[in-house]
């Protein structure tokens, strides 16, 4: 069966196996069907040797978190992300309109999403939302409106994050303003970056959303994104100048006032799409260092936490196993708090009992305390 993968790309893996340790699903299962090398070999079997697309083969592809930890580990620079994206896209098309696309549909309808999540927040307060859904423990009942303070930068606000974690947007805006920058939150004009769609195999929808730049946007103004997953997707698929929030702030760090650091031992969890895709995880350390008493690194070399966009909803068992490994690493570091620059990661970790904060929220708190 033709998965539509370029044959030379498929041939670019020499099966050396150096990726295995960087793959979270291989790490927790020890099973080579759940490894990048294994998945590429299966793509070859299916596309080149007409191997049947059995339930096990599908499962191998479905369980990939697409963290892309394997890409920096690959000395032959195999574009694994593209290979698995193609494969997923093919499988999704073959399955037809499925539950996943229905679940993702509200993301492009910001008002509906907000009404829905307010209802969910109410239901949470009545204790009728099952815990196993892994939702954040207290979704907001109301949100403060976005207000523009100038046009030095745009702040991309997105879908779920704007509905569930708008406070992070406000904090990001305040920090940028403290550095002397005028910020315009983009809001509902560009409701979703499409990352979750691409992740779920809805490639065309995903890239279309990333390119659906509102006409009113001035393309000369940089766009700051404080969700690592969205930032990675926009950097890959839109033509605009996109920065991760910490990456951008690092260039303006001198403009921030010097304050008393918060007394905390802060561990940094690198979201995969910041570390492996944007490869811009180092600025997070740089911008946090002046604002906390102690920064500590985790000892798992940036292995994925298992959130993976909507992965933790679609593959809860594997996501939980992967998270357990991450939590064990966090426990060894003994932090008082974990900084995570991606809403999906922080929600997934919080559901596992970890105290997480967005780096911008921590900086904002330090600035406001003084």
């Amino acid at each position: 069966m033709d998965l539509g993968i370029d044959e030379d790309r498929l041939a670019s893996c020499v099966q050396c196996g150096l990726c295995l340790s960087s793959c979270p699903t291989y790490r927790v299962t020890g099973d080579e069907t759940y490894s990048p090398r294994g998945r590429i070999a299966l793509m070859r079997e299916v596309q080149l040797h007409d191997a049947p697309l059995t339930a096990e083969v599908r499962r191998a592809f479905d369980t990939c978190i697409q963290c892309l930890g394997c890409e920096p580990a690959c000395p032959s620079v195999v574009p694994y992300g593209q290979l698995i994206e193609r494969t997923r896209e093919h499988l999704t098309r073959e399955r037809g309109r499925n539950v996943r696309s229905l679940l993702l549909w509200p993301l492009t309808k910001p008002r509906l999403l907000r009404i829905g999540s307010t209802l969910l927040a109410g239901a949470q307060r009545l204790h009728i939302v099952p815990k196993r859904l892994g939702l954040p423990t207290s979704l907001p009942m109301r949100r403060r409106r976005h207000v523009s303070s100038g046009t030095d930068v745009y702040l991309f606000t997105g879908c779920v994050m704007d509905a569930w974690q708008r406070e992070v947007h406000h904090a990001t805006q305040r920090v940028l303003e403290a550095a002397g920058l005028g910020v315009t939150p983009i809001g509902d004009d560009w409701p979703c970056c499409g990352a979750l769609h691409t992740h779920a195999g809805l490639h065309e929808q995903g890239t279309a959303l990333a390119r659906r730049t509102p006409g009113s946007l001035d393309t000369n103004i940089p766009i700051v994104v404080n969700s690592a997953g969205c930032g990675a997707h926009l950097k890959q698929h839109s033509d605009l100048t996109v920065f991760d929030a910490q990456e951008f702030l690092a260039q303006h760090l001198d403009a921030l006032p010097r304050v008393t650091p918060l007394d905390m031992r802060l561990a940094i969890q690198d979201p995969c799409h910041l570390r492996h895709v944007q490869r811009a995880h180092l600025p997070t350390r740089q911008v946090l260092a002046p604002f906390v008493t102690e920064l500590v690194e985790l000892d798992d070399d940036g292995l994925c936490c298992g959130a993976g966009g909507a992965y933790s909803i679609f593959e809860p068992d594997m996501a939980t196993q992967v998270r357990s490994r991450k939590i064990a690493s966090i426990d060894r570091a003994k932090p008082t708090c974990v900084a995570s620059a991606n809403p999906g990661c922080s929600m997934h970790l919080a559901a596992g009992g970890v105290t997480t904060e967005h780096p911008m929220v921590i900086i904002d708190r330090a600035l406001r305390q003084s």
Binding site: C16, L18, L20, S21, T33, A41, L42, E56, P75, S76
Partner: protein, 478 residues
């Protein structure tokens, strides 16, 4: 496959859903990191304890089946590929570091512990595990024991055998034994020593006591550029002759250096004909002196540039480049055949030139990256497996390289093992009598030839192996 059904049913009694029998998984495990295809594997057993390994072995005995152990599947000689659909005993989930005793400098580990994970675990304690195969970020301690693995730093520290004190083994008859011990001078025959390098044919490792090594107080890493590999090889011989014992001395030729630099971007010179990565460690005063001497010897032998790693980050990146070199070759061609022979250091330059000639004669691309200090050559023949008739050419060139190495007084394998790759060359190295005794050693551990049959010893010397294989592989190449 009705008797397979019974076997699977019995295996499931031991492991539940950790027995994998689907076509996808069985097809994947046809191979390791080499070019050899062993055929479809039997049931795959993801074991989590020595007891489970023992139960799986006993089940295999009941059903008259053979077994093959597998760690991360990064072997380069086909040692872990399944011949004749054996039961695969996967040890990847047995990955716990059980105990670290700093006072005695011993760590107990399970066989599935990744080599680099052990070193990372020990680093904050001031120690490391000395054998550092280039695949150390993925390869497992069990595989290191099975292949008596080396690595760049084994030049000064010795190969795996020197770092293993005791091994718990499930023998092919299902008994569990402890080979070796923690005492400095164990009494009796050194069965541990016989077992290390056994390539899974003497039993299945389930627990290992390894020696841990204190981190050196000072390290100097030098990168020397040369116009030709011959000059780099001559420098290596001269350094050893001068009485210096560097921790590591590694050479890469130009093509592989470029591929590596494309990946790590640390400033490996793209225009040098060869580079020598040399490292000295020990006490501050000594390493500085040795570094200066190596630099002088290098310049006397034609080094055009000598650079020192200025920081630990730079040093780690230089090593990352060297250690991932074999995986970087897909930038040049989609398939590789990585060779592993050892020649006397003094004849390194000469054999190296012969290797380039052989590749030319067979119209194949070759790159060389090698543990120069040990005289351990790693020529990589590069090709596109989709080209008709290519495997015959690669095979022929490989044979010629082995022959050239043996002619120069070398040996078949430095560290990758014999597996099925070098099996056919064994009788060029050993007499029939030698091979007979090797076979007797194997039979002493495994009279039934149940554990990893069909490897190492040439089939002509190993009748029982042929009997225990359900089908004799006739074409494992490609």
């Amino acid at each position: 496959m009705s008797n397979d059904d019974e076997l699977i049913k019995d295996l499931r009694k031991v492991l539940g859903d950790r027995v994998r029998v689907d076509s996808a998984e069985r097809a994947l495990l046809r191979r390791d990191a080499s070019v050899f295809d062993g055929g479809v594997a039997g049931p795959i057993c993801l074991c989590e304890s020595a007891n489970e390994v023992q139960q799986v072995m006993l089940t295999a005995i009941t059903h008259g089946r053979t077994v093959v152990p597998r760690g991360a599947g990064t072997g380069l000689a086909g040692g872990a590929v399944p011949l004749g659909a054996p039961v695969v005993i996967s040890l990847a989930r047995m990955n716990r570091i059980l105990d670290v005793d700093l006072e005695s400098r011993i760590a107990w580990v399970e066989p599935g512990v990744v080599n680099l994970d052990l070193t990372k675990h020990l680093t904050p304690l001031g120690f490391h595990f000395a054998p550092d195969p280039s695949s150390q970020q993925v390869c497992t301690i069990g595989g290191n024991v099975a292949n008596n693995s080396g690595g760049p730093h084994c030049l000064a520290y010795g190969v795996t055998n020197a770092h293993v004190l005791a091994i718990e083994v499930v023998l092919a008859d299902g008994t569990v034994v402890m080979l070796g011990g923690l005492d400095a001078e164990p009494t009796g025959y050194d069965l541990r020593g016989a077992y290390v390098g056994g390539e899974g044919m003497l039993g299945i490792t389930t627990k290992v006591a390894v020696r841990i090594t204190p981190n050196p107080p000072a390290v100097r890493t030098l990168l020397l550029s040369f116009n030709t590999p011959r000059e780099a090889a001559a420098t290596v011989s001269a350094v050893i002759a001068a009485g210096i014992v560097p921790a590591a001395m590694e050479v890469m030729d130009q093509r592989i250096t470029i591929a590596v630099e494309n990946y790590v971007n640390v400033g490996y010179p793209r225009d040098a004909g060869a580079v020598l990565l040399a490292e000295v460690d020990g006490l501050e005063g000594g390493v500085e002196l040795d570094a200066e001497r190596i630099e002088a010897i290098g310049r006397a032998n034609g080094a055009t540039q000598v650079r020192r790693a200025a920081s630990n980050e730079e040093r780690m990146l230089l090593w990352k480049g060297r250690k991932t070199a074999f995986g970087a070759v897909a930038q040049i061609a989609p398939n590789y055949y990585l060779h592993d022979t050892v020649v006397p250091r003094s004849r390194l330059a000469e054999v190296l030139e012969k290797v380039y000639e052989i590749a030319d004669e067979h119209n194949l691309a070759v790159v060389n990256v090698f543990h120069a200090g040990d005289g351990n050559l790693h020529p990589l023949l590069l090709f596109d497996g989709r080209e008709p008739g290519i495997y015959e050419r690669v095979h022929a060139a490989g044979s010629a390289i082995v022959a050239a190495s043996l002619d120069a007084g070398g040996v078949l394998s430095g560290e990758h093992g014999i597996g099925i790759e070098k099996q056919a060359f064994m009788d060029r190295m050993f007499s029939a009598d030698d091979l007979d005794h090797q076979e007797r050693l194997r039979r002493a551990f495994d009279p039934s030839c149940r554990s990893n049959p069909g490897k190492v010893i040439p089939l002509g010397h190993s009748c029982a192996d042929i009997q225990s294989l359900r089908s004799v592989p006739h074409e494992v190449w490609g």
